[in-house]
Symmetry: C2
Subunit: 148 residues, 2 copies
């Protein structure tokens, strides 16, 4: 039948190891990771493979990399609580590269857009906010309206 055990690519495996270490606090927030060369030797792989592993963690918003400086674990900022106005609509998306450069947004950080009933739009960095629905009476569960 040839079930074909899928072996994850080396750079995925390395990203998984590093992610685990970050989660367990082996590399505390704000602290530098080993340099790319060091990681190459540590895992006996090429620079390319290490850089792809780091790219994954960057896309997940776990680390930041800057030219000339060692890669570092991203410090997750404290989240502000934002209360949605009644009848506001919220969507979430990745910023364009232009937006990232203009607003200095790290890779792997989505945007939250809240549009109120007057059409005014507010944009937040997803990792810095927690959106609260307004208190009130009734319904404690999320309702899904499916138009499909």
């Amino acid at each position: 039948m040839n079930v074909q055990r899928h072996v994850p690519a080396m750079y995925h495996q390395i990203a998984d190891v590093l992610r685990g270490e970050i989660d367990r606090g082996t590399h505390p927030a704000g602290q530098p990771l080993p340099t790319e060369r060091e990681l190459c030797e540590q895992y006996s792989v090429s620079l390319t493979t290490i850089r792809r592993a780091l790219a994954i963690l960057r896309e997940e918003g776990l680390i930041t990399t800057r030219r000339g400086a060692p890669s570092a674990v991203r410090e997750c900022p404290a989240r502000r609580t934002v209360v949605m106005g009644r009848g506001s609509k919220l969507t979430c998306r990745m910023p364009t590269t232009t937006e990232r450069f203009a607003m200095g947004i790290d890779r792997g950080v989505p945007l939250v857009e809240v549009r109120d009933r007057l059409g005014h739009v507010e944009v937040f960095l997803a990792d810095q906010v927690e959106v609260l629905s307004p208190e009130g009476l009734a319904s404690a569960t999320t309702r899904v309206m499916d138009f499909a």
Copy 2:
């Protein structure tokens, strides 16, 4: 001195051109892009550079790439409208690689997590939902509570 006009990397420039073409409908949703080799010739750059340009568009959720098949413009699915329960909290983040594989999520698609007052969590793909705050009286504007 030495203002050093910052010249964007070639792969950024190419990504910008392709993004523009996608936005203008030159490459309609669901349709394949030119192959990587064709793009190499078209822009007179190496395969590496083209692949990095495509990686950007992938991170932005604009295209999908699959081994063996040509890269294609992502079709943006119709958004369901989800109504938040009162007192629910919403956060948004990138999925982990594990989640992406397990749930078959394309790169560049954030997750929306809604936690109701009982602690129950619902997860949505960010590009498939629009979250509505419950209707009611009062406040039409978004209130920000800053604890800093």
